[in-house]
């Protein structure tokens, strides 16, 4: 067939496309198992991290899963999934996933409570696309560690507050300077989850003042 003919070009493109697609399908098949294991290990690593379950830094996917299965149990309460771990020093810990819109994209994280269902043991943001250096700091240790020991409910009602003018109350953490939008959205998504939990605890889920 003439190389300048359109039919030749179409045939060439079709054959090339088919060969490339076959090659990619093959590679995908070949790596599918390991990729799935890695994605699962990532999940498990996040859960273990927020619950404070010790695991080796360079643990393989299979090792992580083993640590997870021998330490953490899944519980469902009022339709919400909790990961429960009996911490050797902190006692029973319950972690639950939360998510919500950030400024640029979805934000996902874990909220981990102590056995009293009121005190925060840890908060971690494991997925976010906020502005690096500003909103992106929500996944920094400095921001996340602020939540440790805070109360998710006070006499005024349920909810934590991310405030710009200095956190002093037991339900307040400092916002990130220059990232007011992200801070507000983080507060909103945390409180949505907190209200569900507080409601499930049998307390009236009152709306607190979500200023800041």
């Amino acid at each position: 067939m003439n190389k300048k003919h359109s039919g030749y070009a179409i045939l060439y493109a079709a054959v090339l496309g088919l060969v490339c697609a076959l090659a990619l399908t093959g590679v995908d098949r070949f790596t599918a198992e390991r990729k799935a294991a890695n994605a699962q290990a990532e999940e498990v690593r996040n859960v273990l991290g927020v619950l404070g379950v010790p695991f080796a830094a360079g643990a393989s996917a299979a090792e992580l899963l083993e640590v997870y299965e021998s330490n953490v149990r899944d519980e469902e309460r009022n339709g919400r999934e909790f990961f429960v771990f009996d911490h050797p020093s902190a006692g029973e810990l319950l972690a639950t996933r939360f998510e919500g819109p950030g400024l640029w994209g979805p934000v996902e994280g874990f909220l981990c409570l102590r056995g009293d269902r009121e005190t925060i043991y840890a908060v971690s943001f494991y997925r976010q696309e906020e502005t690096p250096g500003l909103g992106g700091e929500i996944s920094s240790d400095a921001f996340q560690d602020q939540f440790r020991g805070k109360k998710i409910a006070t006499a005024a009602g349920a909810g934590i507050r991310v405030v710009a003018d200095g956190a002093d109350a037991p339900n307040e953490v400092d916002a990130i300077a220059g990232a007011t939008m992200t801070s507000d959205k983080v507060q909103a998504m945390l409180n949505e989850t907190i209200e569900e939990i507080v409601g499930a605890n049998g307390r009236p889920a009152r709306r607190g003042s979500h200023g800041g």
Binding site: K3, K4, Y8, A9, Y12, A13, L16, G17, C20, A23, L24, V27, D28, T31, R34, K35, N38, A41, E42, G133
Partner: protein, 226 residues
């Protein structure tokens, strides 16, 4: 991406094979004389983005070598049967295939690194160096010498990235690849080095250095001709 850049003309005059000295010349050109980053200023987007750590830079360099060699080989093998009108689409299809293969392998066997490099491995598809070499070299040359060209340009890219990555990580953390080189007793890590501005400064210095070492005289000579 000019079809007939000066670089392309220099390397494409003869149609010789690897054996008549062209292989060595091609290798020298890619790594040094027409280094894709420091001389041609191509592909600097990824060079700026992933060079905050030496390890990231090295993996990215390996990725580019793999893609460049593979795509140059196939573009060259198909150069006589590829219809001219759709050659660029064909090149992109070949390049994209190699990039995705590398990305998938990284995801399966080097998850941590895959997470750190984020979208930048996938973005190699749009890296000017890869398509530039396919267009300017592989389309006119035999498969083996085209692979050498891909290898040379990949190495040229990787070396520059490694140098930038080394100094950014060193300045930003005081150590490189887990080894503490500058004692934190007296060295305060400069966070700026690992952030975006540090990349621009480091790349600027490196390009200046390369030009000073290789191109300063040439430029003067060029300037004096009418």
């Amino acid at each position: 991406m000019a079809d007939k850049s000066p670089v392309a003309c220099v390397t494409c005059v003869s149609r010789g094979g690897v054996c008549d000295g062209k292989g060595i010349q091609t290798l020298k050109d890619g790594v040094w004389a027409s280094n894709p980053i420091s001389i041609q200023i191509l592909g600097i987007c990824s060079a700026l983005a992933v060079t905050n750590r030496l390890e990231n830079s090295l993996v990215m360099g390996v990725a580019l070598i793999f893609v460049c060699v593979g795509s140059n080989l196939f573009v060259s093998l198909l150069r006589n049967v590829t219809p001219r009108r759709i050659r660029m689409i064909a090149e992109v299809a070949i390049i994209a295939t190699f990039v995705i293969v590398f990305d998938q392998i990284l995801k399966a066997y080097y998850w941590e690194m895959s997470k750190q490099l984020g979208p930048y491995v996938g973005l190699i598809i749009t890296n000017c160096i890869v398509m530039g070499r396919a267009e300017a070299f592989a389309l006119q040359n035999r498969p083996v010498v085209s692979m050498v060209d891909g290898l040379a340009n990949g190495i040229g890219y990787a070396v520059v990235l490694a140098i930038i990555g080394f100094f950014r990580e060193l300045a930003g953390t005081g150590g490189v690849a887990g080894f503490q080189i500058l004692s934190l007793d007296w060295y305060v890590p400069n966070q700026l080095a690992v952030l975006a501005p540090g990349a621009f400064v480091a790349l600027g210095f490196l390009i200046a250095l390369f030009n000073w070492l290789s191109g300063a005289n040439k430029e003067e000579n060029e300037g004096s001709t009418p």
